[in-house]
């Protein structure tokens, strides 16, 4: 993209940006996510407390001037745990989505370029991965291998690649018939060149949509797994494992600050990322928008 076409305001990217900006929920969501990311990055100066500092004399106190969101069962500051947990939740979301996108792009373009039995095999593999509920599989795998963040990130990414793989394969198949790709092949371009110069740029808009949705899904999955005690292990804080405490009626009733704040954090973050994905979809594919 040259700067001249951007200045003219008619390039696909600027048109997409204009369409994205006309999607109010998506724009608000971008602002919200930027704030969440900043809060996670500047967790230490913002919180004013050590997220792991135990203070049994201050256990289970409600929101106050010193502890804005109260303290948990061992007197740790909920706000600072919430901010530090944001790092883990966002990190897990981004890392697993990255695995899914890289794997999907590789397998999808290989399937599209080679065709034949390779294509059949990759697509059947995609079907199998898509038909299994990732949460249940990760419960089983972490049950046997023991829970760890790395296992979780790899497993989430492994179960999310098919969506991206199918899209990249579709783009590759339609590109393969184009004359400029034929010309590029005739002048000696190899598969890696085709991927870098033609497939990836063409697949980028739809892949950016599924990547965004994958981040949202991964954040929700991480929270659920950690809530079940199979994801991020204490004392490290994650939005999911902060809610594990809240499985007793007394906590739900009398200490709502313990479970409301991490629950709201994960719900709003996932919702915002999904809205951004929705806005991106309308922006890069005007046909899907009304």
């Amino acid at each position: 993209m040259t700067s001249r076409t951007v200045a003219a305001g008619r390039s696909p990217a600027s048109a997409a940006l204009r369409r994205f900006r006309s999607h109010p929920a998506a724009v608000v969501s971008v602002v919200f996510i930027v704030l969440v990311v900043l809060a996670a990055i500047f967790a230490r100066p913002l919180s004013g407390h050590d997220p792991n500092a135990i203070d049994l004399l201050q256990a289970r106190t409600g929101p106050s001037g010193d502890h804005l969101l109260g303290t948990d069962s061992t007197g740790r500051d909920v706000l600072s745990r919430l901010l530090f947990a944001g790092r883990i939740s966002l990190g897990v979301g981004l890392a697993s989505a990255a695995i899914a996108v890289v794997l999907g792009t590789l397998l999808g373009s290989v399937a599209g370029l080679l065709g034949g039995w390779v294509d059949g095999l990759v697509m059947r593999l995609a079907d199998v991965f898509m038909s299994f509920p990732s949460l249940v599989v990760i419960v089983v795998v972490s049950g046997i291998l023991g829970p760890s963040v790395l296992t979780m990130v790899i497993a989430i990414g492994l179960f999310q690649w098919p969506v991206c793989g199918r899209i990249v394969r579709g783009v590759t198949l339609s590109l393969r018939e184009q004359e400029f790709v034929l010309a590029s092949r005739a002048t000696g371009a190899g598969p890696l060149w085709l991927m870098r110069k033609h497939i990836i740029p063409a697949a980028l808009p739809p892949v950016s949509v599924v990547a965004t949705l994958a981040v949202a899904q991964a954040i929700a999955l991480e929270a659920t797994l950690s809530f079940l005690g199979l994801g991020v292990q204490p004392p490290a804080a994650s939005w999911g494992n902060m809610l594990t405490d809240a499985q007793s009626l007394t906590v739900i009733r009398s200490e709502p600050w313990l479970w409301l704040s991490p629950g709201i954090a994960v719900a709003l973050t996932v919702l915002a990322v999904n809205f951004i994905g929705d806005g991106l979809r309308d922006a890069v594919d005007p046909r899907s928008a009304s």
Partner: protein, 319 residues
Amino acid sequence: MAAFLVRRLAINVLVFFLITIAIFALVHKTPGDPIAMQIPADQLNSGSAEFIAQKRHELGLDQSLLMQYWHWLTNALHGDLGYSLLNGRPVTEVLGERIGPTVELMGVGLLISLLVAFPLGILAARRRNSLVDYGATVVSLGSVSIPVFFVALIAIYVFTLKFQWFPSSGISDPTNPGLLDSLHHLVLPAVILGFGNSGPFMRYVRSSMITELGADYVRTANAKGASPRRVVLRHAFRNSLIPVLTVIATNLPQLLAGAVVIEQVFAWPGMGQLAVSSVNQHDYSVIVGFALLIAILVLLSNLLADVLYTVVDPRVRLR
């Protein structure tokens, strides 16, 4: 049609065997002596060294990995999944008594999600870009975005603690059993499970209806003077069901994922709760049995989707 189904069946059987290999590899990864998973704990503790060695031989544990896999698979297919490491009961029995409650929860949850998804999806498709359509989109995004465990905690806070309308744990009250009591316990878990799954279903109903409402035969039906209600319900809706039904079938395993979480929060004595507690208590033989059961469920729902596809869409039958 037969050729299509036979090919799909063959693929599913092949996939099943690949998955059993993956599960066996996991079994091999479990800490401890594999023989502990295959004979009851009391025999293991009281048995002499010779007895254990003989059992080891009978179970094929002294043979090659390939033979071990074969023994394990044939036993599993005969319903012998070994014994729980926790209480020595046969895994098939432990799993078996948990299937009923989970099926009950999933069935009612599915029903509720469809009762939400169909009317909302059809309405949103008929009035595209209206307030209804926008509201339906927000509801569906909310249902996929808000984690089910958080919805469950809020529901317990509001409906159990504040209003005391519904119980928050268990499947029935032992002091006062009966149909009404069971339904009373089912309401919160099933509604929450249904809500969590209604979003994706609604989106499929909506997009499928939009496709059908734009088709030529709908224009014909309108032109010949059929009432709008008849056009939507008798013409477009029936055709829009084709993709939606297969989506519902392939989504059954996702429903189970929701049930795993909900059973945990509501102490619902189903498979999901069993799986999570087995994981926490390192009861590997039960975890492996659960994994096998999930693989069967996933492949059965894939097959169901294929069969539904051929039954409701005559075009597939002709292929």
